[in-house]
């Protein structure tokens, strides 16, 4: 294991970098997209609600690999040329956003009710009540489940390996096929994933305790 790491350290660090980069980008976009669709799922407007619901059900129930392949193969063919990293990160963002939408929606619904009525009764609009009262409380509630989504997101970023995204998993495959030391190649990469996910996991637990 040490051998593999010292021989291929630069290649592995590049992989680590792409994995982290993809995760951070996907985290950012999936949070925004997820929150937008979470709100769409619960607004009074029926058309928006249906669109929100459909989005979540579609992206939540198709395998991540299929979504990613779609962006890797179909989009470049008909729409615009994108590389594997971009395709993978888009797939990852959309897939994760569906789960985040569900998490945020349940958070909003657990806060709404009395808090919404209290706010609306003072003359606030629906959106003012959302912004000042409901969403701040909802985000606090959903931090623990969102933490799980983030950890999943990092692990799921290994899907980039299938579309030449140069991430950790991609490097593991490439090291394994050049050295034939499959066991150690994947062990090293497993440890590197843990280096990202364990601190994230602990940080989330800490945050959960602090906010409770």
């Amino acid at each position: 294991m040490i051998n593999i790491f010292s021989h291929f350290s630069s290649q592995l660090l590049v992989g680590l970098g792409w994995t982290v980069l993809s995760s951070v980008i996907a985290l950012f976009f999936s949070l925004i997209i997820g929150t937008i669709f979470a709100i769409m799922e619960i607004v009074p407007n029926k058309v928006l609600r249906t669109i929100g619901r459909a989005y979540v059900e579609i992206f939540r129930n198709i395998p991540l690999l299929v979504i990613t392949m779609f962006f890797y193969l179909v989009i470049p063919m008909y729409v615009v040329k994108i590389n594997g990293f971009t395709a993978g990160t888009i797939g990852l963002s959309l897939y994760t956003s569906a789960f985040i939408a569900e998490t945020v929606r349940s958070g909003i619904q657990s806060v709404a009710g009395g808090q919404m009525e209290g706010a609306r009764s003072t003359g606030m609009t629906y959106w003012q009540a959302m912004r000042y009262i409901i969403l701040p409380q909802a985000f606090k509630i959903v931090i623990p489940p969102l933490g799980n989504q983030f950890v999943n997101l990092v692990k799921n970023s290994s899907v980039l390996a299938f579309v030449a995204g140069f991430d950790l998993m991609y490097q593991a495959n490439s090291i394994a096929s050049t050295t034939f030391d499959t066991i150690n190649s994947y062990l090293v990469v497993g440890v590197l994933y843990l280096i990202i996910t364990l601190p994230l996991s602990y940080y989330m637990q800490h945050l959960e305790k602090k906010l409770a």
């Binding site: 808090q115 209290g118 003072t122």
Partner: protein
Amino acid sequence: MSMIEFHDVQKFYGHFHALHDINLKIDQGETVVLIGPSGSGKSTLVRTVNGLESIQKGQLIVNNHDLSDPKTDLNILRRDVGMVFQHFNLYKNKDVLENIMLAPRIVSHMPEKENKEQAMHLLEMVGLEKWAHNMPSQISGGQKQRVAIARTLAMRPKLILYDEPTSALDPEMIDDVLQVIKKVTTDSGMTSLIVTHEMGFAKEVANRVIFMDQGRIVEDDASESFFKRPKTERAQQFLSKIISH
């Protein structure tokens, strides 16, 4: 001038007929108490007045806004119609002072200095100026309800709806809240519609009592004559049961 007018209002939840043929006129400045057994439609009626519940038939006019017209902007109506809830509904993410200052700031765009002075003044009035920077979770139920009343007053409403304001409180907290409501209803010339089970309080503050049962207004009378002797047997029965303990 009338503040609230119900004309043959009907309210349904699916097939359940929650409000039957409601006809009611409440004038500006009146303090009206709404009583009746649970499930009689008191809360539903009060909640239709600021549009928290929709009506299916008839006409409802509040402060010159027609709530039966879907084009009516409820947000504008609600600036002048405050509501105090059974479970307070204070904003859990804001401290006591912010609970009071938020709506004047973002709804009526009151200058910050005036807003703060008003909020502190209201907190003094309800006896909670020391608690301005506490979170709602740090104060008692009775204190929460007094903050909720201050929050409602901060919008300077013409009408306040009280939906069982003391039903969720410990017995020893009830009196403080009732004293505040009494002060608010008597000094201000504001119109108040109060759902309550506190008969002593009702007798003290109300000009007029409305008794409801099974979604209908059964009796509507001046407070004095109602408490002396209700006209209908159903109301007599209700009153004798409530006062006996």
